[in-house]
Amino acid sequence: MTLSTQERLASAAGSPSRPRGGGRLQASGLPWILPALVLGVGLIYYCIGYTGYISTLNWDGASPEPLSVGTKNYSNIFGDPVFWKAITHTVLFFVVTFVVQTALGVVFAVIMHSHIKLAVLYKVIIFVPVVLAPAIMAPVFRQIFAANGQFNWVLDHLGLGFLAQPWIGQESTSLPVIMAITIWQWTGLTFVLYYAAMSQIDQSLIEAARIDGAGNLRVLWSIIWPNLRGTTVSLGILSAIGALKTFDIPWLVTIAGPNNSTQFLGTYIYQMTIQLAHVGYGAALSIILLIVALVMAIILQIVARERTGRR
Protein backbone atom coordinates (compact mmCIF):
# COMPACT_ATOMS: atom_id res chain seq x y z
CA MET A 1 0.00 0.00 0.00
CA THR A 2 2.65 2.41 1.04
CA LEU A 3 5.07 1.18 -1.54
CA SER A 4 4.93 4.26 -3.70
CA THR A 5 5.64 6.53 -0.76
CA GLN A 6 8.56 4.45 0.27
CA GLU A 7 10.00 4.06 -3.19
CA ARG A 8 9.68 7.76 -3.69
CA LEU A 9 11.41 8.54 -0.42
CA ALA A 10 14.13 6.01 -1.13
CA SER A 11 14.86 7.48 -4.54
CA ALA A 12 14.67 11.01 -3.18
CA ALA A 13 17.25 10.06 -0.58
CA GLY A 14 19.53 9.15 -3.44
CA SER A 15 19.92 5.47 -2.68
CA PRO A 16 21.33 3.75 -5.76
CA SER A 17 18.89 1.69 -7.77
CA ARG A 18 19.81 -1.93 -7.57
CA PRO A 19 21.08 -3.58 -10.72
CA ARG A 20 19.03 -6.56 -11.81
CA GLY A 21 20.91 -9.85 -11.93
CA GLY A 22 24.43 -9.67 -13.32
CA GLY A 23 27.03 -8.92 -10.72
CA ARG A 24 24.80 -9.52 -7.73
CA LEU A 25 24.84 -12.39 -5.36
CA GLN A 26 24.42 -15.48 -7.42
CA ALA A 27 22.53 -17.71 -5.01
CA SER A 28 18.88 -18.11 -5.81
CA GLY A 29 16.62 -16.35 -3.36
CA LEU A 30 13.63 -18.59 -3.90
CA PRO A 31 14.24 -20.86 -0.88
CA TRP A 32 14.51 -17.72 1.25
CA ILE A 33 11.13 -16.33 0.33
CA LEU A 34 9.43 -19.72 0.30
CA PRO A 35 8.36 -19.82 3.98
CA ALA A 36 6.73 -16.39 3.68
CA LEU A 37 5.02 -17.42 0.45
CA VAL A 38 3.72 -20.66 1.94
CA LEU A 39 2.42 -18.93 5.06
CA GLY A 40 1.17 -15.68 3.54
CA VAL A 41 0.25 -16.39 -0.04
CA GLY A 42 -0.42 -20.10 0.50
CA LEU A 43 -2.77 -19.86 3.45
CA ILE A 44 -4.54 -16.71 2.31
CA TYR A 45 -5.02 -17.62 -1.34
CA TYR A 46 -6.13 -21.09 -0.33
CA CYS A 47 -8.78 -19.48 1.86
CA ILE A 48 -9.85 -17.09 -0.87
CA GLY A 49 -10.15 -19.91 -3.38
CA TYR A 50 -12.11 -21.99 -0.91
CA THR A 51 -14.39 -19.05 -0.11
CA GLY A 52 -14.95 -18.54 -3.82
CA TYR A 53 -16.05 -22.16 -4.15
CA ILE A 54 -18.37 -21.99 -1.12
CA SER A 55 -19.91 -18.79 -2.48
CA THR A 56 -21.54 -20.83 -5.27
CA LEU A 57 -23.27 -23.11 -2.79
CA ASN A 58 -26.39 -23.03 -0.73
CA TRP A 59 -24.84 -24.44 2.42
CA ASP A 60 -25.51 -24.32 6.13
CA GLY A 61 -21.93 -25.23 7.04
CA ALA A 62 -22.75 -28.69 8.33
CA SER A 63 -24.74 -30.58 5.73
CA PRO A 64 -22.57 -33.10 3.87
CA GLU A 65 -24.20 -32.41 0.51
CA PRO A 66 -24.37 -28.70 -0.17
CA LEU A 67 -26.49 -27.57 -3.08
CA SER A 68 -24.75 -25.83 -5.94
CA VAL A 69 -26.57 -22.64 -6.92
CA GLY A 70 -24.13 -20.96 -9.31
CA THR A 71 -24.14 -17.20 -9.03
CA LYS A 72 -27.47 -17.00 -7.24
CA ASN A 73 -25.88 -15.84 -3.98
CA TYR A 74 -24.30 -12.91 -5.79
CA SER A 75 -27.49 -11.81 -7.54
CA ASN A 76 -29.29 -12.05 -4.19
CA ILE A 77 -26.72 -9.78 -2.59
CA PHE A 78 -27.34 -6.97 -5.03
CA GLY A 79 -31.02 -7.01 -4.12
CA ASP A 80 -30.32 -7.19 -0.39
CA PRO A 81 -31.14 -3.87 1.34
CA VAL A 82 -28.94 -4.75 4.34
CA PHE A 83 -25.92 -5.15 2.05
CA TRP A 84 -26.47 -1.66 0.64
CA LYS A 85 -26.95 -0.32 4.14
CA ALA A 86 -23.59 -1.82 5.12
CA ILE A 87 -21.92 -0.26 2.08
CA THR A 88 -23.44 3.15 2.84
CA HIS A 89 -22.32 2.93 6.47
CA THR A 90 -18.80 1.99 5.41
CA VAL A 91 -18.49 4.99 3.08
CA LEU A 92 -19.97 7.41 5.63
CA PHE A 93 -17.82 5.93 8.35
CA PHE A 94 -14.67 6.32 6.28
CA VAL A 95 -15.36 9.94 5.29
CA VAL A 96 -16.28 11.11 8.77
CA THR A 97 -13.59 9.28 10.73
CA PHE A 98 -10.88 10.22 8.24
CA VAL A 99 -11.76 13.92 8.12
CA VAL A 100 -12.18 14.29 11.88
CA GLN A 101 -9.05 12.29 12.72
CA THR A 102 -6.98 14.26 10.25
CA ALA A 103 -8.20 17.58 11.61
CA LEU A 104 -7.65 16.53 15.22
CA GLY A 105 -4.29 14.94 14.46
CA VAL A 106 -2.97 18.06 12.75
CA VAL A 107 -4.27 20.36 15.47
CA PHE A 108 -2.78 18.20 18.24
CA ALA A 109 0.54 17.96 16.41
CA VAL A 110 0.74 21.73 15.90
CA ILE A 111 -0.16 22.43 19.52
CA MET A 112 2.35 19.92 20.87
CA HIS A 113 5.02 21.51 18.70
CA SER A 114 4.29 24.91 20.23
CA HIS A 115 5.99 24.53 23.63
CA ILE A 116 2.96 24.04 25.80
CA LYS A 117 3.10 22.69 29.34
CA LEU A 118 2.32 19.03 30.11
CA ALA A 119 2.81 18.11 26.44
CA VAL A 120 4.25 14.70 27.38
CA LEU A 121 1.26 13.86 29.54
CA TYR A 122 -1.19 14.95 26.81
CA LYS A 123 0.65 12.85 24.28
CA VAL A 124 0.40 9.76 26.46
CA ILE A 125 -3.34 10.31 27.02
CA ILE A 126 -4.02 10.62 23.30
CA PHE A 127 -1.90 7.62 22.36
CA VAL A 128 -3.03 5.14 25.04
CA PRO A 129 -6.30 4.30 23.20
CA VAL A 130 -4.24 3.08 20.23
CA VAL A 131 -2.75 0.23 22.23
CA LEU A 132 -5.95 -0.80 24.02
CA ALA A 133 -7.93 -3.63 22.48
CA PRO A 134 -11.30 -2.51 21.07
CA ALA A 135 -12.79 -5.68 22.49
CA ILE A 136 -11.76 -4.66 25.99
CA MET A 137 -13.00 -1.08 25.65
CA ALA A 138 -16.35 -2.08 24.15
CA PRO A 139 -18.14 -2.76 27.45
CA VAL A 140 -16.84 0.56 28.75
CA PHE A 141 -18.39 2.41 25.83
CA ARG A 142 -21.62 0.46 26.13
CA GLN A 143 -21.84 1.78 29.66
CA ILE A 144 -20.80 5.35 28.81
CA PHE A 145 -23.35 5.77 26.04
CA ALA A 146 -26.20 3.94 27.77
CA ALA A 147 -29.33 5.92 28.62
CA ASN A 148 -28.17 6.29 32.25
CA GLY A 149 -24.49 6.35 31.34
CA GLN A 150 -21.69 8.80 32.05
CA PHE A 151 -22.03 10.69 28.76
CA ASN A 152 -25.54 11.81 29.56
CA TRP A 153 -24.39 12.58 33.11
CA VAL A 154 -21.72 14.92 31.74
CA LEU A 155 -24.23 16.58 29.41
CA ASP A 156 -26.51 17.09 32.39
CA HIS A 157 -23.77 18.78 34.40
CA LEU A 158 -22.79 21.03 31.50
CA GLY A 159 -26.32 22.32 31.39
CA LEU A 160 -26.99 20.37 28.20
CA GLY A 161 -29.35 17.89 29.82
CA PHE A 162 -31.90 18.38 27.04
CA LEU A 163 -29.47 16.61 24.68
CA ALA A 164 -29.42 13.45 26.79
CA GLN A 165 -30.73 10.39 24.96
CA PRO A 166 -30.18 6.63 24.68
CA TRP A 167 -27.23 6.99 22.30
CA ILE A 168 -26.64 3.38 21.33
CA GLY A 169 -30.25 2.32 21.65
CA GLN A 170 -31.68 4.30 18.75
CA GLU A 171 -31.00 4.22 15.02
CA SER A 172 -30.33 7.93 14.62
CA THR A 173 -27.32 8.09 16.97
CA SER A 174 -25.83 4.60 16.96
CA LEU A 175 -23.60 5.07 13.90
CA PRO A 176 -22.19 8.41 15.11
CA VAL A 177 -21.32 6.69 18.41
CA ILE A 178 -19.40 3.97 16.54
CA MET A 179 -17.58 6.69 14.62
CA ALA A 180 -16.77 8.60 17.80
CA ILE A 181 -15.29 5.50 19.43
CA THR A 182 -13.16 4.81 16.36
CA ILE A 183 -11.92 8.39 16.29
CA TRP A 184 -11.14 8.18 20.00
CA GLN A 185 -9.13 5.05 19.34
CA TRP A 186 -7.06 6.14 16.33
CA THR A 187 -6.40 9.87 16.72
CA GLY A 188 -3.24 9.02 18.66
CA LEU A 189 -1.72 7.33 15.64
CA THR A 190 -2.69 10.16 13.29
CA PHE A 191 -1.22 12.62 15.76
CA VAL A 192 2.10 10.77 16.11
CA LEU A 193 2.52 10.60 12.33
CA TYR A 194 1.75 14.27 11.78
CA TYR A 195 3.97 15.17 14.71
CA ALA A 196 6.88 13.34 13.10
CA ALA A 197 6.14 14.79 9.66
CA MET A 198 6.06 18.32 11.10
CA SER A 199 9.51 17.95 12.64
CA GLN A 200 10.81 17.41 9.10
CA ILE A 201 9.44 20.70 7.77
CA ASP A 202 12.19 23.19 7.02
CA GLN A 203 12.00 25.79 9.80
CA SER A 204 13.44 28.51 7.54
CA LEU A 205 10.32 28.25 5.34
CA ILE A 206 8.15 29.05 8.34
CA GLU A 207 10.41 31.86 9.48
CA ALA A 208 10.45 33.38 6.00
CA ALA A 209 6.66 33.35 5.97
CA ARG A 210 6.56 35.02 9.36
CA ILE A 211 8.91 37.75 8.19
CA ASP A 212 6.52 38.30 5.28
CA GLY A 213 3.86 38.91 7.92
CA ALA A 214 2.02 35.59 7.92
CA GLY A 215 0.12 34.82 11.13
CA ASN A 216 -0.11 31.44 12.86
CA LEU A 217 -3.19 30.22 10.99
CA ARG A 218 -1.82 31.42 7.69
CA VAL A 219 1.42 29.46 8.30
CA LEU A 220 -0.60 26.38 9.22
CA TRP A 221 -2.72 26.54 6.09
CA SER A 222 -0.15 27.65 3.50
CA ILE A 223 3.06 25.99 4.69
CA ILE A 224 2.50 23.25 7.23
CA TRP A 225 -0.57 21.57 5.73
CA PRO A 226 0.77 21.28 2.13
CA ASN A 227 3.98 19.77 3.51
CA LEU A 228 2.00 17.02 5.19
CA ARG A 229 0.41 15.71 2.00
CA GLY A 230 2.40 12.47 1.91
CA THR A 231 1.30 11.60 5.44
CA THR A 232 -2.31 12.50 4.66
CA VAL A 233 -2.40 10.26 1.59
CA SER A 234 -0.96 7.31 3.53
CA LEU A 235 -3.43 7.84 6.35
CA GLY A 236 -6.26 8.02 3.82
CA ILE A 237 -5.33 4.64 2.39
CA LEU A 238 -5.01 3.18 5.88
CA SER A 239 -8.41 4.54 7.00
CA ALA A 240 -10.14 3.30 3.87
CA ILE A 241 -8.85 -0.23 4.38
CA GLY A 242 -9.64 0.06 8.08
CA ALA A 243 -13.22 1.08 7.30
CA LEU A 244 -13.70 -2.02 5.14
CA LYS A 245 -12.31 -4.22 7.90
CA THR A 246 -14.44 -2.69 10.68
CA PHE A 247 -15.79 -5.40 12.91
CA ASP A 248 -14.91 -5.31 16.62
CA ILE A 249 -16.51 -2.01 17.65
CA PRO A 250 -19.90 -2.20 15.91
CA TRP A 251 -20.19 -5.88 16.82
CA LEU A 252 -19.39 -5.48 20.49
CA VAL A 253 -20.97 -2.11 21.20
CA THR A 254 -24.21 -2.22 19.23
CA ILE A 255 -24.31 -5.77 17.77
CA ALA A 256 -24.64 -4.09 14.36
CA GLY A 257 -28.01 -2.69 15.46
CA PRO A 258 -30.48 -1.42 16.31
CA ASN A 259 -32.23 -2.45 13.12
CA ASN A 260 -28.95 -2.77 11.16
CA SER A 261 -28.14 0.89 11.76
CA THR A 262 -24.50 0.01 12.50
CA GLN A 263 -24.23 -2.87 10.07
CA PHE A 264 -20.87 -3.15 8.28
CA LEU A 265 -19.68 -5.72 5.78
CA GLY A 266 -17.59 -7.49 8.42
CA THR A 267 -20.44 -7.74 10.91
CA TYR A 268 -22.91 -8.81 8.21
CA ILE A 269 -20.60 -11.60 7.02
CA TYR A 270 -20.17 -12.77 10.60
CA GLN A 271 -23.91 -12.74 11.25
CA MET A 272 -24.69 -14.60 8.04
CA THR A 273 -21.93 -17.17 8.37
CA ILE A 274 -21.75 -17.94 12.07
CA GLN A 275 -25.09 -16.95 13.51
CA LEU A 276 -27.55 -17.70 10.71
CA ALA A 277 -25.47 -20.48 9.08
CA HIS A 278 -26.01 -19.06 5.59
CA VAL A 279 -22.45 -19.99 4.83
CA GLY A 280 -22.72 -19.76 1.06
CA TYR A 281 -24.22 -16.30 1.23
CA GLY A 282 -21.59 -15.18 3.74
CA ALA A 283 -18.86 -16.45 1.43
CA ALA A 284 -20.28 -14.52 -1.51
CA LEU A 285 -20.33 -11.40 0.67
CA SER A 286 -16.70 -12.08 1.57
CA ILE A 287 -15.69 -12.28 -2.07
CA ILE A 288 -17.44 -9.00 -2.80
CA LEU A 289 -15.74 -7.38 0.20
CA LEU A 290 -12.41 -8.63 -1.10
CA ILE A 291 -13.01 -7.26 -4.59
CA VAL A 292 -14.09 -3.88 -3.20
CA ALA A 293 -10.94 -3.75 -1.03
CA LEU A 294 -8.63 -4.63 -3.92
CA VAL A 295 -10.22 -2.23 -6.38
CA MET A 296 -10.12 0.54 -3.81
CA ALA A 297 -6.49 -0.13 -2.99
CA ILE A 298 -5.56 0.03 -6.67
CA ILE A 299 -7.51 3.27 -7.22
CA LEU A 300 -6.00 4.90 -4.15
CA GLN A 301 -2.56 3.79 -5.24
CA ILE A 302 -3.05 5.43 -8.64
CA VAL A 303 -4.47 8.60 -7.08
CA ALA A 304 -1.56 8.78 -4.66
CA ARG A 305 0.93 8.41 -7.53
CA GLU A 306 -0.71 11.14 -9.60
CA ARG A 307 -0.84 13.47 -6.64
CA THR A 308 2.81 13.05 -5.84
CA GLY A 309 3.76 13.18 -9.52
CA ARG A 310 2.17 16.59 -9.84
CA ARG A 311 4.02 18.01 -6.87
Binding site: Q6, A10, G29, I33, A36, Y50, T51, F141
Partner: protein
Protein backbone atom coordinates in the same frame (compact mmCIF):
# COMPACT_ATOMS: atom_id res chain seq x y z
CA UNK B 1 5.29 25.57 15.02
CA UNK B 2 3.04 28.25 16.41
CA UNK B 3 4.58 31.36 17.83
CA UNK B 4 2.92 32.30 21.06
CA UNK B 5 4.65 35.07 22.93
CA UNK B 6 2.02 36.93 24.93
CA UNK B 7 0.83 35.33 28.16
CA UNK B 8 -2.81 35.34 27.15
CA UNK B 9 -2.22 33.57 23.86
CA UNK B 10 -0.06 31.03 25.68
CA UNK B 11 -2.88 30.51 28.14
CA UNK B 12 -5.42 30.21 25.34
CA UNK B 13 -3.37 27.54 23.55
CA UNK B 14 -2.96 25.62 26.81
CA UNK B 15 -6.70 25.83 27.41
CA UNK B 16 -7.54 24.58 23.91
CA UNK B 17 -5.09 21.69 24.30
CA UNK B 18 -6.59 20.72 27.65
CA UNK B 19 -10.16 20.89 26.37
CA UNK B 20 -9.24 18.74 23.37
CA UNK B 21 -7.44 16.14 25.50
CA UNK B 22 -10.23 15.74 28.07
CA UNK B 23 -12.54 13.66 25.82
CA UNK B 24 -9.64 11.21 25.34
CA UNK B 25 -9.22 10.86 29.09
CA UNK B 26 -12.93 10.57 29.76
CA UNK B 27 -13.50 6.90 28.78
CA UNK B 28 -10.49 5.84 30.84
CA UNK B 29 -11.80 7.67 33.87
CA UNK B 30 -15.29 6.29 33.30
CA UNK B 31 -13.81 2.79 33.13
CA UNK B 32 -11.90 3.09 36.40
CA UNK B 33 -14.69 4.89 38.19
CA UNK B 34 -17.28 2.37 37.00
CA UNK B 35 -15.11 -0.52 38.14
CA UNK B 36 -15.20 0.77 41.74
CA UNK B 37 -18.96 1.30 41.85
CA UNK B 38 -20.83 -0.87 44.32
CA UNK B 39 -18.32 -3.18 46.01
CA UNK B 40 -15.23 -1.01 45.46
CA UNK B 41 -12.10 -3.17 45.58
CA UNK B 42 -14.39 -6.13 46.08
CA UNK B 43 -15.10 -6.07 42.34
CA UNK B 44 -11.43 -6.63 41.65
CA UNK B 45 -11.19 -9.37 44.26
CA UNK B 46 -14.13 -11.22 42.71
CA UNK B 47 -12.63 -10.96 39.24
CA UNK B 48 -9.20 -12.20 40.31
CA UNK B 49 -10.73 -15.05 42.30
CA UNK B 50 -12.55 -16.40 39.26
CA UNK B 51 -10.74 -19.66 38.57
CA UNK B 52 -8.68 -19.44 35.41
CA UNK B 53 -8.62 -15.66 35.18
CA UNK B 54 -4.85 -15.60 34.64
CA UNK B 55 -5.22 -18.32 32.07
CA UNK B 56 -6.56 -15.63 29.69
CA UNK B 57 -3.30 -13.70 29.99
CA UNK B 58 -1.23 -16.82 29.52
CA UNK B 59 -3.16 -17.76 26.38
CA UNK B 60 -2.78 -14.26 24.91
CA UNK B 61 0.94 -14.36 25.69
CA UNK B 62 1.40 -17.77 24.07
CA UNK B 63 -0.49 -16.73 20.95
CA UNK B 64 1.26 -13.37 20.61
CA UNK B 65 4.63 -15.02 21.21
CA UNK B 66 3.95 -17.66 18.59
CA UNK B 67 2.81 -15.09 16.04
CA UNK B 68 5.86 -12.88 16.68
CA UNK B 69 8.38 -15.70 16.34
CA UNK B 70 6.75 -16.97 13.16
CA UNK B 71 6.39 -13.53 11.57
CA UNK B 72 9.94 -12.52 12.49
CA UNK B 73 11.50 -15.68 11.10
CA UNK B 74 9.73 -15.80 7.74
CA UNK B 75 9.89 -12.02 7.31
CA UNK B 76 13.64 -11.74 7.76
CA UNK B 77 14.30 -14.62 5.38
CA UNK B 78 11.92 -13.30 2.76
CA UNK B 79 12.98 -9.67 2.99
CA UNK B 80 16.63 -10.67 2.50
CA UNK B 81 15.71 -12.91 -0.43
CA UNK B 82 13.58 -10.23 -2.08
CA UNK B 83 16.13 -7.50 -1.55
CA UNK B 84 19.56 -9.01 -2.10
CA UNK B 85 19.21 -12.35 -3.84
CA UNK B 86 18.32 -13.30 -7.37
CA UNK B 87 14.77 -14.50 -7.89
CA UNK B 88 13.07 -15.08 -11.19
CA UNK B 89 9.69 -13.28 -11.34
CA UNK B 90 10.56 -11.59 -8.07
CA UNK B 91 8.05 -8.78 -8.43
CA UNK B 92 5.25 -11.21 -9.24
CA UNK B 93 5.78 -12.98 -5.93
CA UNK B 94 6.05 -9.67 -4.18
CA UNK B 95 2.76 -8.37 -5.53
CA UNK B 96 1.04 -11.66 -4.74
CA UNK B 97 2.11 -11.07 -1.17
CA UNK B 98 1.18 -7.38 -1.15
CA UNK B 99 -2.34 -8.05 -2.42
CA UNK B 100 -2.96 -9.77 0.93
CA UNK B 101 -2.56 -6.44 2.71
CA UNK B 102 -6.13 -5.46 1.95
CA UNK B 103 -7.58 -8.73 3.18
CA UNK B 104 -10.17 -8.42 5.97
CA UNK B 105 -9.80 -11.35 8.35
CA UNK B 106 -13.52 -12.10 8.32
CA UNK B 107 -13.03 -13.46 4.78
CA UNK B 108 -10.92 -16.29 6.23
CA UNK B 109 -13.56 -17.53 8.65
CA UNK B 110 -15.39 -20.23 6.74
CA UNK B 111 -12.47 -21.89 4.97
CA UNK B 112 -10.37 -21.87 8.12
CA UNK B 113 -13.26 -23.19 10.14
CA UNK B 114 -13.82 -26.22 7.95
CA UNK B 115 -10.11 -26.77 7.32
CA UNK B 116 -8.99 -26.57 10.94
CA UNK B 117 -11.72 -29.02 11.87
CA UNK B 118 -10.74 -31.37 9.07
CA UNK B 119 -7.06 -31.45 10.07
CA UNK B 120 -7.70 -31.42 13.83
CA UNK B 121 -6.30 -27.96 14.56
CA UNK B 122 -9.61 -26.49 15.66
CA UNK B 123 -9.52 -25.21 19.24
CA UNK B 124 -5.71 -25.29 19.33
CA UNK B 125 -3.38 -22.29 19.46
CA UNK B 126 -2.32 -23.00 15.89
CA UNK B 127 -5.81 -22.22 14.58
CA UNK B 128 -5.25 -18.63 15.70
CA UNK B 129 -1.47 -18.28 15.36
CA UNK B 130 -1.25 -19.36 11.72
CA UNK B 131 -3.90 -17.03 10.23
CA UNK B 132 -2.80 -14.10 12.38
CA UNK B 133 0.81 -14.57 11.28
CA UNK B 134 -0.27 -14.96 7.65
CA UNK B 135 -2.13 -11.65 7.87
CA UNK B 136 0.88 -9.83 9.38
CA UNK B 137 3.57 -11.24 7.10
CA UNK B 138 2.85 -9.23 3.92
CA UNK B 139 3.21 -5.90 5.65
CA UNK B 140 6.21 -6.98 7.69
CA UNK B 141 7.95 -8.13 4.52
CA UNK B 142 7.15 -4.85 2.75
CA UNK B 143 8.67 -2.81 5.58
CA UNK B 144 11.72 -4.98 6.07
CA UNK B 145 12.45 -5.31 2.37
CA UNK B 146 12.46 -1.53 2.04
CA UNK B 147 14.78 -1.31 5.00
CA UNK B 148 17.23 -3.87 3.59
CA UNK B 149 17.10 -2.14 0.21
CA UNK B 150 18.68 0.80 2.00
CA UNK B 151 21.69 -1.29 3.01
CA UNK B 152 24.45 -0.96 0.38
CA UNK B 153 24.90 -3.87 -2.01
CA UNK B 154 28.67 -3.44 -1.78
CA UNK B 155 28.58 -4.64 1.80
CA UNK B 156 27.04 -7.93 0.72
CA UNK B 157 29.40 -8.15 -2.26
CA UNK B 158 32.37 -7.68 0.05
CA UNK B 159 31.10 -10.39 2.37
CA UNK B 160 30.75 -12.71 -0.62
CA UNK B 161 34.25 -11.93 -1.86
CA UNK B 162 35.49 -12.75 1.63
CA UNK B 163 33.95 -16.15 1.19
CA UNK B 164 30.70 -15.74 3.10
CA UNK B 165 27.77 -17.70 1.70
CA UNK B 166 24.33 -16.12 1.40
CA UNK B 167 23.58 -17.77 4.75
CA UNK B 168 26.65 -16.07 6.20
CA UNK B 169 25.50 -12.74 4.83
CA UNK B 170 22.15 -13.29 6.43
CA UNK B 171 23.49 -14.19 9.86
CA UNK B 172 26.31 -11.65 10.05
CA UNK B 173 24.80 -8.69 8.20
CA UNK B 174 21.01 -8.87 7.95
CA UNK B 175 20.18 -10.01 11.48
CA UNK B 176 22.28 -7.39 13.31
CA UNK B 177 21.63 -4.52 10.89
CA UNK B 178 17.84 -4.87 10.76
CA UNK B 179 17.33 -4.44 14.50
CA UNK B 180 15.54 -1.05 14.22
CA UNK B 181 12.96 -2.31 11.74
CA UNK B 182 12.68 -5.63 13.58
CA UNK B 183 11.61 -3.68 16.66
CA UNK B 184 8.86 -2.00 14.65
CA UNK B 185 7.72 -5.33 13.22
CA UNK B 186 7.73 -6.80 16.71
CA UNK B 187 5.52 -4.06 18.14
CA UNK B 188 2.85 -3.97 15.47
CA UNK B 189 2.74 -7.76 15.38
CA UNK B 190 2.37 -7.83 19.15
CA UNK B 191 -0.45 -5.28 19.14
CA UNK B 192 -2.18 -6.98 16.22
CA UNK B 193 -2.04 -10.42 17.84
CA UNK B 194 -2.73 -9.35 21.43
CA UNK B 195 -5.73 -7.20 20.52
CA UNK B 196 -7.29 -9.53 17.98
CA UNK B 197 -10.82 -10.52 18.78
CA UNK B 198 -12.36 -12.35 15.83
CA UNK B 199 -9.94 -15.28 15.48
CA UNK B 200 -9.99 -16.37 19.13
CA UNK B 201 -13.76 -15.82 19.18
CA UNK B 202 -14.33 -18.30 16.38
CA UNK B 203 -11.47 -20.78 16.71
CA UNK B 204 -10.95 -21.14 20.45
CA UNK B 205 -14.09 -22.65 21.88
CA UNK B 206 -13.04 -24.20 25.18
CA UNK B 207 -12.75 -21.83 28.09
CA UNK B 208 -9.17 -22.61 29.10
CA UNK B 209 -7.96 -21.64 25.61
CA UNK B 210 -9.51 -18.18 25.41
CA UNK B 211 -7.63 -14.90 25.22
CA UNK B 212 -7.96 -11.61 27.07
CA UNK B 213 -10.04 -10.02 24.31
CA UNK B 214 -12.75 -12.54 25.20
CA UNK B 215 -12.68 -11.63 28.89
CA UNK B 216 -15.56 -9.10 28.85
CA UNK B 217 -17.78 -11.63 27.12
CA UNK B 218 -16.78 -14.34 29.57
CA UNK B 219 -17.66 -12.14 32.53
CA UNK B 220 -21.03 -11.20 31.10
CA UNK B 221 -21.86 -14.87 31.56
CA UNK B 222 -19.92 -15.32 34.81
CA UNK B 223 -21.46 -12.39 36.69
CA UNK B 224 -24.85 -12.33 34.95
CA UNK B 225 -24.18 -8.91 33.46
CA UNK B 226 -22.86 -7.17 36.59
CA UNK B 227 -21.36 -4.14 34.87
CA UNK B 228 -19.04 -3.12 37.70
CA UNK B 229 -17.18 -6.43 37.64
CA UNK B 230 -17.02 -6.41 33.86
CA UNK B 231 -15.40 -2.99 34.04
CA UNK B 232 -13.01 -4.22 36.73
CA UNK B 233 -11.96 -7.02 34.40
CA UNK B 234 -11.54 -4.48 31.59
CA UNK B 235 -9.22 -2.39 33.79
CA UNK B 236 -7.18 -5.45 34.73
CA UNK B 237 -6.77 -6.52 31.11
CA UNK B 238 -5.92 -2.97 29.99
CA UNK B 239 -3.19 -2.48 32.61
CA UNK B 240 -0.52 -4.69 31.00
CA UNK B 241 -0.98 -2.88 27.68
CA UNK B 242 -0.73 0.56 29.23
CA UNK B 243 2.32 -0.42 31.30
CA UNK B 244 4.03 -1.93 28.25
CA UNK B 245 3.34 1.24 26.29
CA UNK B 246 4.61 3.55 29.05
CA UNK B 247 7.83 1.53 29.36
CA UNK B 248 8.51 1.45 25.62
CA UNK B 249 6.85 4.64 24.42
CA UNK B 250 9.18 5.44 21.55
CA UNK B 251 9.20 1.88 20.30
CA UNK B 252 5.41 1.67 20.33
CA UNK B 253 4.95 4.96 18.51
CA UNK B 254 7.52 4.10 15.86
CA UNK B 255 6.30 0.55 15.50
CA UNK B 256 2.66 1.44 15.09
CA UNK B 257 3.28 4.39 12.81
CA UNK B 258 5.50 2.22 10.63
CA UNK B 259 2.10 1.07 9.45
CA UNK B 260 1.58 4.32 7.59
CA UNK B 261 4.86 5.68 6.28
CA UNK B 262 8.57 5.43 6.57
Amino acid sequence: MFEVRRWWSKGLLQLIATLLVLPYLFPLIAMVQGSFAGDGWGNYRDVILVPGFFRFFLNSAIISGGVIVLVYAVTMLAAYGFSKLRIRFREVYFWLLLACLTLPEVVLLTPLFTTTQAVGLFNTYWAVILPLAALQVPFAVLLTRNFINGLPDEMFEAARVDGASSIGGFIHLVIPLTKPIAAAVLIFTLIGAWNDYLMPLVFLQSQDMQTITLVPQFFVGEFSNDQTKILASAVLTAIPEIVAYLCLQGLFERGLSAGAIK
